[in-house]
Symmetry: C2
Subunit: 478 residues, 2 copies
Amino acid sequence: MLVEATDGTLTEQVMALVRTRIERRQLVSGARLPSVRAMAEAAGVSKSTVVEAYDRLVAEGAIRARPGSGFYVAAPLAPLTIAAVDSRADLAIDPLWMLRESLSPRPGAILAGGGCLPDDWLPVELLRKGLRTIARTAPLTSMTNYSTAMGSEPVRRLIARRMGEQGVDVATDQILLTDSGTQAIDLICRFLIEPGDVVLIDDPCYFNFQALLRAHRARPIGVPFTPHGPDVEAFQQALEEHLPRLYITNSAIHNPTGASLSAPVAHRLLKLAEAHDLLIVEDDIFADFETVPSARLAAFDGLDRVIRVGSFSKSLTSAVRCGHIAARRDWIAALADLRIATGMSSSPISAELVHTVLTDGAYRRHMEKIRGRLEQTMTRVIPRLAEIGIVPWIEPSGGMFLWARLPDDLDAVAVTRHALRSNIVLAPGNVFSVSQSAGSYLRLNVARMGDDRVFEVLEAAMAHCGRGQGLAIPPSDH
Amino acid sequence: MLVEATDGTLTEQVMALVRTRIERRQLVSGARLPSVRAMAEAAGVSKSTVVEAYDRLVAEGAIRARPGSGFYVAAPLAPLTIAAVDSRADLAIDPLWMLRESLSPRPGAILAGGGCLPDDWLPVELLRKGLRTIARTAPLTSMTNYSTAMGSEPVRRLIARRMGEQGVDVATDQILLTDSGTQAIDLICRFLIEPGDVVLIDDPCYFNFQALLRAHRARPIGVPFTPHGPDVEAFQQALEEHLPRLYITNSAIHNPTGASLSAPVAHRLLKLAEAHDLLIVEDDIFADFETVPSARLAAFDGLDRVIRVGSFSKSLTSAVRCGHIAARRDWIAALADLRIATGMSSSPISAELVHTVLTDGAYRRHMEKIRGRLEQTMTRVIPRLAEIGIVPWIEPSGGMFLWARLPDDLDAVAVTRHALRSNIVLAPGNVFSVSQSAGSYLRLNVARMGDDRVFEVLEAAMAHCGRGQGLAIPPSDH
């Protein structure tokens, strides 16, 4: 009724006004909206228009009415929707969907698109042994106290030595321990970027970079990725066009493509970064999966404008939270301060556990075994995929990922939705693509494709979608 | 020379201009400054004025000159200086000094002002036993995987039950696990406040609240604290004057005073919060130290506009990072999303350890023992302090803290500096006071005053400073 009674466009203007204030957090959740009269005066519209606008916002669930008290912002601005794992069926298949599926796996599901090794590939006995060891040997203070501001000295020495082996010359006091690689990048973003800043990412890239940048209200700009690193011409153009503050990338065994940065591209990137005062975050989380070490921006640059982050979540376990940042001393000091003010210091017990496991010769043997096992699996999976018409973009030199294009430009989201019915979780390309230009790609995790059912379901889903019966693709929720 | 050659005020204007841009992060660390010519034109001053301004900024260390390349922002904006533990002698004694002393204790020092129990008061054997247990019993997925978005279900159920015993009615899906109580408050600040927002804190309050709010570039306003909670009249005045978004407090066994919120004050605070749309964060980290449970804002309010946070860092250990947030479902979902985007989920191994220890009957006995031991210590320490003329503000009903005034308005910072020479670390009142109005107070930790040397050193330091020979008080660095 009201809709007809008043001017729709004016009403929508008032609604837009309120929405903007909520988005900008000028009105936080629980805050009272201006009274109908006040809003009517402010917006120069009739009170009935405001009443209608408020009613519609209530209907939308954006605000709620409290009898005799006025209107209030109902739900807080949820920057993401990861935790809500119920009624997944109708959720958009986007980076957050991928996070949901990874953190709360469906019972019995095969995460053929997953980002981690299967549980039984990880050195569980080594971890249990490590727990028993630290129960016995960890010093009193590691059992009771916060760690120092920078985190465990022995673990930092260990990381410095490992980086040295990759040609990155770094001192222990240039390394700060964090709770995870993600927290490492988050601290760097808090430290260096402001809402609205442009940040370059690879297209495609690890989907959580997009979620993280959204949480910082930064503007991600994608640079097309080639088998040797980002497209240098496009990179230069993005620098000139968008004046980004930061570039976030994986250099070795890139997620999701499995590609590795070449030395010439690394050299050209760093020259461009220097010329445009660009800072670079190099996420080296897959370092231990390399058979032949590839170029490292941090090695070329010597940690001048490159900040290197890493963790053991992929090679050891993601159940123990231990990441790190290596950067210029003055930045590390400031990052440590920020880290303590916002979460105190890292867990000495986790550090003891990581140190115990990593200094056990069995860890090196574990990684050798993993690398060999992945290599074999890769050589088995690629021809098997070829049989059903799926060809990888490149054959990676290491790691668990295959970036593969579906035949006939099949829609990867439709294929994913169909495969979900058989409890196979795929990772459609656009989840990784800020420009949504990877619509017919999949990221496959070869370590999770041991069961031939994966190929059968894939083939069936492709056939189904090929017959033009792909399910509707809901709009991405960001 | 240059100083005389050009107009000092103009030079300072240019310097101020650059400083502001650095503070606002318009110029981040490593960024190139405008060329001398460009700046001269922009600021409408002579190039020699800009040269002098840049030279002085270089001398200050704010920027650095790169030969043939120009001027660059040297050190990043360090919001705090905690990590730099070297040359402590000349550091201001402020909240960050306190954090430094707590995280990197001087060898052999007695932290008579410290915020935690001594190592040997904590249930170390229980923790070692817990590690052995989870080494044996933790399920595969807890050893290898991220936890779910919300964190360990059993631990959340445990926390819900414990809150129930405090009269806070909360469902498991209203509880989000974090890595610490500090991270819990940090997530809430990220979610609810913007730079420049006003946040009310108690005066005095836990010093890290100030550091945390600085990291968020929020504006802390102190409300005088009484033995029954914040001064309600001053609280109301602050609401009307500053329109704060948030109030952060400890309700039970307040840090640093040891006071507890009374039911009438809690009631009046919540009425004011309702009337002014104020949200409240109630940090309940000392809950387990209460002999008689006091009023809880979360219990009165039913988690409508009160967000409750807590952790086990004080009662169990700070070496295992495990905190929590209890709040409205819609907020918890959004906070979980933010948490995952910025640091993934919490450690299942830490959660297994906390759950194992807390469900062991020995933990309840441990806390009973601690409460009894603290009560005895308290009754021993208070008269001993009286002998040297130190009288506590109140006699707390529980916990480890005494908030005590020095006789003759002695300067607590001077006394602290003097005591440091004997390796006794005190906590001077202004470290906790945003208004710097607690200059002759000390926070004392009775659990750390078993050694009579503490009293002797205190007495000597007081005598020294009383003779008007107090050391110079450097300006607080914020």
